[in-house]
Point group: C2
Chain length 203, copies 2
């Protein structure tokens, strides 16, 4: 078997890069850190960094990836523990947790998205929409929407497209724009997105 095993030095560099980037991003903010700075701090060459990550968005996507396991487990636990709740309520729970994630990781997500938009068409680079994290939330939302539609089939829209649209509507830039314009708290935003989905709210 022609095993495609990652070379040892390469594997070490991968970890080193991610750790270095995370530290620098935490200290100075994602935007303030350059790729050159990351390479220099990690003690590797510019070329080494760029071969592994074709641009900053790519690197950020990998950091999100790292973090996403946490989110996935959180959601899976939540859904398991609240299996008996109506699907409407569970969807609300997923939305709330997704919003918390957006707030925490907005800088990384925005950086990923910025690079998606730059790369015209063909670019082979990974995009947020292909990331396991996006796939995961979309699939969970989609399942719940399907379950909801089964019980009240008032001409429900395609669940995948609905879930996708929700995720787009909650993307950091649009999310914060509304939040600031309306002077909403995070809880108010959560409340409003529930209403947007016509979910029961407690007001």
């Amino acid at each position: 078997m022609s095993a495609r095993v990652e070379r040892k030095d390469a594997a070490e560099h991968r970890k080193l890069i991610l750790q270095t980037a995370e530290k620098l991003f935490d200290d100075h903010g994602v935007n303030a850190v350059s790729m050159h700075q990351i390479a220099k701090t990690a003690g590797i060459g510019q070329g080494t960094l760029y071969r592994r990550y074709t641009h900053k968005g790519d690197l950020c996507l990998d950091l999100i990836q790292d973090f996403s396991h946490e989110f996935v487990e959180q959601i899976e636990r939540y859904l398991k523990e609240h299996r008996e709740l109506p699907a409407e309520e569970r969807l609300g729970g997923v939305l709330d947790r997704w919003i918390d994630t957006i707030e925490k990781k907005s800088e990384l997500i925005m950086t990923v998205e910025a690079h998606q938009l730059k790369g015209s068409e063909e670019s082979r680079a990974a995009t947020f929409f292909q990331s396991p994290l996006y796939q995961f939330v979309r699939d969970r939302m989609s399942e719940l929407l399907t379950e909801i539609a089964k019980r009240r089939p008032d001409s429900a829209a395609d669940p995948t497209l609905t879930a996708h649209s929700l995720i787009c509507a909650m993307a950091p830039h649009g999310y914060f724009h509304m939040k600031h314009e309306k002077h909403f708290s995070t809880d108010q935003m959560k409340h409003n997105y529930r209403r947007l989905c016509r979910l029961p709210v407690s007001d």
Copy 2:
């Protein structure tokens, strides 16, 4: 009155820049054209270009601006001529036309958005969400949603947030991602967004 009149040479340059940029963008695509190239082609200095437009996104926003009058008139005419139709149908009409606009101007819009995402927080630069075009569609959608909600007030969400969310969900990158993944035609996309809003569809 301390009239802030734009100097004649400046006004001429503004037009020259927009025309040059539009031409170059049409010929080579927005992404393939650099600011340097625009300045050189227009026969002006780099500094002159950058003082008027702090970055490429800014320039694109102005091009969209130029174009948006056309869209605004189209929508106003449509709404006037179909005043008697139910608000649901009129909203559908606005969505259709907005989708056509997205498809036509996606490159410009994506470039504007890419720069919004880069600029961290404070940057004074104009964003798409502050553009008259965005304001216009959002307001029209919002009005129609309010009208719809009046007749069937099944716990309708905030119309502004709903309109904003719709616009975000239809932003080029997310729009095309769905379109390509599902192999949808433009008409199918229109159809699906109508269903998303729970509007009557003709299937």
